[in-house]
Subunit: 585 residues, 2 copies
C-alpha cells in the first residue's frame, strides 16, 4: 500500500473542499452534490484537476453522500453515482499516477439505534453497498469522514475492512469542547478505530485550524496511527459567506500540525486549490515531527474512557453464577432487572461492568449481544464481555460501541486460537487466565509461565501488549490456604516482569468461611498492594469500594485524597458499614 | 570463669541431694537443715566429701534456706549459717581445686506481692544479704534453685548480679503440666532469666527424670544458655520413703538429657553419692549434643509468652495523648479507670499492651512502675514500657515481672547511650524509631539507614538482634501523602534486609481525613503485607482486629482459619461494624 508508505515517509498532501467549490460552480442549495458527477462531470473533474495541479496527492471522489438513504428519490443508485464520481476523479488524474483517488464515505444522514431507528446491520449494509461500488470502479483508498457517531463509523469501518483490501482513513468532526455532536471523545475515537484497523485517523470540518489544534494534540497521545487534519478555512462571515482564514494563515497552522506529528493535511469547507498550492510551496520537503506514543491500557465507550493507570473497578453483578434472582431474570428475559443491576453498580462508582449471561437455558449467542446493546443504551461504562462461547463473543463484539475487554482466554492453545482472532479483529482488550488443560497450577511461577504464553500468543495475533490483561486466579482460602499467597505473588510477577495489567475476581477467596466480607476486603487490599489493577467486585458493598478508595489515597493515586474526601466527608458516623451477611454473591 | 568454660566444653557433673542425705544422718523433721552446718559441721562436710569422691565437680553448700526470713527465731543470722556451710563445703574440697562450691539460694518461703505481702525490694534485700555473705566467705558460684516464682527469681538474680561477679545458675521447679506452682511457663523462665544475665538455667526437684525430660526439651528451644537438670530420684514410696528411680535408670535418663544438649547434671531429692558415681562412670568422656538455637523474638510475663512469629497486636489505649478521660484518670490517680482500659483491650484479644503515662502533671518515675505493677496484678499480657524518661524506664524495668519491650530509642546517639544499657541490663526487647536529631527522613532508604545504626548500637551493647524491633514511623496521609509508601517500603527493607521485627503505630495515618477507620484499616493491611509484625492499634475497634484476623488467614498464619472461624462464626449479621466516628483516639 504505497499510500501508507507515503504517510510514514513524510507529509501527505490531501485536497481541499469539494462541496463549497461545487457551490461556487453552480450547485444550488438543496441539490445533492454527488449528482453533479452525473449531471456535470466536467465540473467535478475540473475541480479535482485544480487540486491535483495545486499539489494534492489524494483527491476525494465526489461520493460523500452517495448512500442509498440519501439518494432515495433521486432516481440514482449509489453504484451509478459512485461510478460517475470515481470516473471523474480518475479522469482528472490522467497522466499522473502519483495522485490517488479516495472513495469518500460520509454519514448516512439518519441516526442509528438506540438514538434513532437505523439498525447497526442496516447501516453496515448501506456502507457495504458504497464500498463494493468504490472497489469495483477502482478507488485507491477509502476515506470515512465528517463522522460524529462512533457507532456509525464502526459500521462503515467494518464494511470497508470486510469488503475491501484498500487502506482506510477515518476523520471525525469535533465541536469546540473536544467531543463530537453525539458526545464521542477523542480518546474513544482513537481507541476504537485503531482497534478496528483504521490505517490513519484524524479530524475534519466544522472548526478552523486553531480550534482543531488542541483536539488534534489530544488525539496524538491516544493513538499510534498516522494523523490526518482537514480543517475548514475558519468560519464563514455570516454576511459575505467568505471564510476567515487566509491561505497564508492556513499554511501557518499546517506547520503547527506537523510539529505535533500530523502527517496528512488538506482542507475542508471553504478551502480552495489556492490553500493546497500554498501548503505545497511552504511544506514540501518538510517532515512531520516524530511522535512518541506511550502505550496506554484503556477501554471505552464513545463517551467514557477508562484508562487503566490506577485501580479501576469491574462490577461483578451481571452474572447468574450463584445468583438466583439474576438467573430467573435471564430465563424470563427480564431486561429491567438486568439493567437495574447495571445502574446500581454505576451509581456505586464501578468503572467497568462485567457481562456474563451464560446459562444452560439461554442462547448466549443471542442474549449476550442483546444485553450488551441494552446496557449501552442506558449506561456509559465500558463492558467486559464475559463468555467462553466464541460465537456469542463475536456477536457482542460486533455490536459493542467502543473498545471492550473480552474475558477470557487461558493457556490452552485451542482456546487461544478460537478467541484471539476475534479480539484482534474487533480491537478489544483481553483477559488471560493463568490456567490451561492441566488446571490451575499451584505455584506462582507456573502461573506466570502461562501468562507469558498467553502474551506471546496474543502478540503473534497482532494484539498489542497493553491490551493483554492477566487474571492470576483467586482460589478459596478455606480449601487452598497456601495458594492465597501464590496468587498474590503471581500478580506481582506479572505486573513487574511482563508489565501487564492484572485482573482478579476477589470474592471467591472467602467461599466457605464466615466473615466473608472482611476476608474479601482484606484480600482486595493485599491484591492491590501486589499490583492488581482491575478488581472484579460487587461495588454495592461499601467496604469493598471503601478499600479501593482508601488504597488510592495511600498509594498516592487519589492526589490530595480529593475523591476520598468527597466520598466520605458527608458520611458522618455512617460510612462504610461492613456486615458479614450483607454480601450479595 | 572456669566453671563456665567447663560447661561449654562438656558435661559438668553436679552433686546430689543434701536434704535427704541429712535426714538419713540424723536431721529431724522440722529442724532447719542449714543449722546442721553449725551443729554438725563434720556431717555436712562428710556428705560433700562423698559427692566429691563420687565425681561431683560442683557441690552446693548447705545454704538453701539460709535467709533472714527462714532463720528468724533460730538465733542465727544468714551470715553465720552461710559462713559455716561454705566452710564445711570448702573443707570437703581440701586437696582438690577441681571442685567448686556453690552458694545455694532457695526460695524465701513467703509469697511476693501481689499474691503475698513481701515487696520486691524486701525480697531483693533478703537475697542480697545471702549473696554478700556467700561472696565474703569465698563461694565459687551462686545457684538459685527450686524456685517456682519467676518474680522471686528476678529479685535473687538481680541481687546476685548487682552484688557479685560470680557465675549464677538458676533452676526452677516445674509440675507435670510444664508450669511451676505459680504458673510460670518454661518459655517465660528462659526469656526472662537469659535477659537478666543468668549463666546457666535449668530444672530441679519435684519430678523424676522421666517427667522432667519433656520440660527440659522445651527449655532447650527457648534459650541459648547452658542447661542444668537436677531431677529427683523419681518419687518416694509412700510407705518406705524410698525413691523409685535406681542409679542405673538415673544414668540412662542423664544420657537422654545429654542428647538434647543438657550440659550440667546432678541429682535432687532422693539421690545419693552412688547416683553421682554411676553417672561419672558412664558419662565421663561423653559430650552433650550441640544445640541449634533458632533466634526467636518474644516477650513475656510469667504466664504468657508472645512469640513474634506472626502478627501480634499492641493495644494503644493506655496512653494520655489526645485522650481526655485517660488524662484525667492519671491526674486523679484513678487506677480503676486505667485498669479497665487494660482489661477491655485484653478482652478484645490484644497480645501486648503499650503503657504510656507521660504527662507534665505526673511524676513518671513513680507512676510508670506503679501502673506496671498494678497492671501485672490483673492481666497476663506482656507490656510495652513507653517512655523517654530513663529513670521511669529503669524503675519500671526493675519491677516488671517477665521480659517487656521498651518503646523507644531512636537514631540519636545520646538517646541510645541513655536507654540501651537499661535494655541490656534488664533483658528487655527495644523499639527503635527511624528518626534522629534531624527529624524523620522522608525516604525509605534514609529511614533504613537509621534502623541499621540503631541495630549496630544495640549489638554493641550486647543486646541480641532478635530483641531489636524497628518502627519506621507512620506519617499523616493528609499532609504527607507521598511518604505513606516510603513508610511501607522502609518496613519491607528493614524486614527483608535486617531481618528485624517491625512496629508501627497505625492510626496517625488518617489524621485530618474523614473515614479515618477505613484508612486505618487499609493502611494496617498494607503494612502487614509489607512485613509489619507489631501493629500498635486500638483493639476495641472491630475492623482493626478484623483486618489482623483476615490477614492471618490470607497469609497462612492462622492455619485452617481456626482462630478466624472461632471469632466470626457466631457473629451472624453483626460482625465487624466499621463506623467512622467510632474510633477512640
Ligand atoms: Zn467541511
Ligand atoms: Zn518474712
Ligand atoms: Zn529436690
Amino acid at each position: 500500500m504505497e499510500i501508507l508508505e507515503a504517510l510514514h515517509d513524510g507529509l501527505l498532501l490531501l485536497d481541499g473542499a469539494m462541496g463549497t467549490m461545487l457551490q461556487s460552480r453552480g450547485l444550488r442549495l438543496g441539490e445533492r452534490p454527488e449528482l453533479f458527477s452525473i449531471t456535470h462531470p466536467q465540473v467535478v473533474e475540473g475541480i479535482h484537476r485544480e487540486y491535483i495541479e495545486a499539489g494534492a496527492q489524494v483527491v476525494y471522489a465526489n461520493t460523500f453522500g452517495a448512500n442509498a438513504h440519501k439518494l432515495a428519490g433521486t432516481g440514482h443508485t449509489p453504484a451509478e453515482v459512485i461510478e460517475a464520481s470515481v470516473r471523474a476523479a480518475k479522469a482528472a488524474c490522467a497522466g499522473t499516477n502519483a495522485t490517488k483517488v479516495a472513495l469518500d464515505v460520509g454519514p448516512i444522514g439518519e441516526l442509528l439505534a438506540p438514538a434513532g431507528s437505523l439498525g447497526f446491520d442496516e447501516a453496515y449494509a448501506l456502507f457495504k453497498e458504497q464500498i463494493d461500488a468504490g472497489v469495483r470502479c477502482g478507488a485507491d483508498l477509502i476515506v470515512i469522514e465528517t463522522m460524529t457517531d462512533l457507532y456509525e463509523v464502526k459500521a462503515a469501518l467494518l464494511a470497508a475492512k470486510e469488503n475491501s483490501e484498500l487502506p482506510v482513513f477515518v476523520t471525525m468532526t469535533f465541536e469546540r469542547g473536544g467531543r463530537t455532536f453525539t458526545g464521542c471523545s477523542v480518546s474513544a475515537m482513537a481507541l476504537t478505530l485503531e482497534g478496528l484497523g483504521a490505517d490513519a485517523i484524524g479530524i475534519n470540518c466544522s472548526l478552523g485550524p486553531k480550534e482543531i489544534y488542541p483536539i488534534a494534540k489530544e488525539l496524538s497521545v491516544w493513538t499510534r496511527l498516522p494523523l490526518i487534519v482537514k480543517a475548514n478555512a475558519g468560519l464563514p462571515d455570516p454576511q459575505t459567506g467568505k471564510y476567515d482564514v487566509t491561505p497564508e494563515a492556513f499554511v501557518g497552522s499546517a506547520l503547527q500540525f506537523m510539529e505535533i506529528g500530523v502527517s496528512a493535511i488538506g482542507g475542508c469547507c471553504g478551502t480552495t486549490p489556492e490553500y493546497i498550492a500554498r501548503m505545497r510551496e511552504t511544506l514540501s520537503g518538510k517532515r512531520p515531527a516524530k511522535r512518541e506514543y506511550p502505550a496506554r491500557a484503556a477501554i471505552c465507550t464513545p463517551t467514557k474512557t477508562v484508562a487503566i493507570d490506577g485501580v479501576a473497578v469491574i462490577g461483578e453483578r451481571i452474572n447468574p453464577t450463584g445468583k438466583k434472582l439474576f438467573k430467573q431474570a435471564l430465563i424470563e428475559h427480564n431486561m429491567d432487572y438486568i439493567l437495574s443491576q447495571a445502574i446500581a453498580q454505576i451509581e456505586a462508582d464501578a468503572d467497568i461492568l462485567d457481562v456474563n449471561v451464560g446459562l444452560p437455558e439461554i442462547d448466549e449467542t443471542v442474549m449476550l449481544p442483546e444485553v450488551v446493546c441494552r446496557l449501552q443504551a442506558v449506561i456509559d461504562a465500558p463492558l467486559q464481555l464475559d463468555s467462553s462461547n466464541a460465537k456469542a463473543l463475536e456477536n457482542a463484539l460486533r455490536l459493542y460501541n467502543g473498545k471492550p475487554v473480552v474475558n477470557s482466554v487461558n493457556g490452552e492453545a485451542a482456546v487461544l486460537e478460537r478467541i484471539l482472532p476475534l479480539v484482534k479483529k474487533y480491537g478489544a482488550a483481553v483477559v488471560g487466565l493463568t490456567l490451561d488443560e492441566n488446571g490451575i497450577p499451584p505455584k506462582a511461577g507456573e502461573r506466570f509461565a502461562i501468562a507469558q504464553r498467553i502474551l506471546d500468543a496474543a502478540l503473534r495475533y497482532g494484539i498489542r501488549r497493553e491490551d493483554v490483561y492477566i487474571d492470576c486466579l483467586t482460589l478459596t482460602a478455606s480449601v487452598q490456604q497456601k495458594e492465597v499467597m501464590e496468587t498474590l505473588k503471581a500478580v506481582q510477577m506479572v505486573k513487574e516482569r511482563l508489565g501487564l495489567k492484572t485482573v482478579l475476581g476477589v470474592s471467591n477467596i472467602s467461599f466457605g468461611l464466615p466473615g466473608r466480607e472482611l476476608i474479601n476486603q482484606s484480600f482486595l487490599t493485599l491484591a492491590l498492594a501486589h499490583g492488581l489493577d482491575l478488581p472484579i467486585i460487587n461495588p454495592n458493598i461499601p467496604s469493598m469500594m471503601g478499600a479501593v478508595a482508601a488504597f488510592r489515597v495511600l498509594y498516592n493515586q487519589d492526589e490530595g485524597a480529593k475523591d476520598f474526601i468527597t466520598k466520605y466527608a458527608q458520611e458522618k458516623g455512617a460510612a462504610p458499614v461492613v456486615s458479614v451477611q450483607g454480601m450479595t454473591i
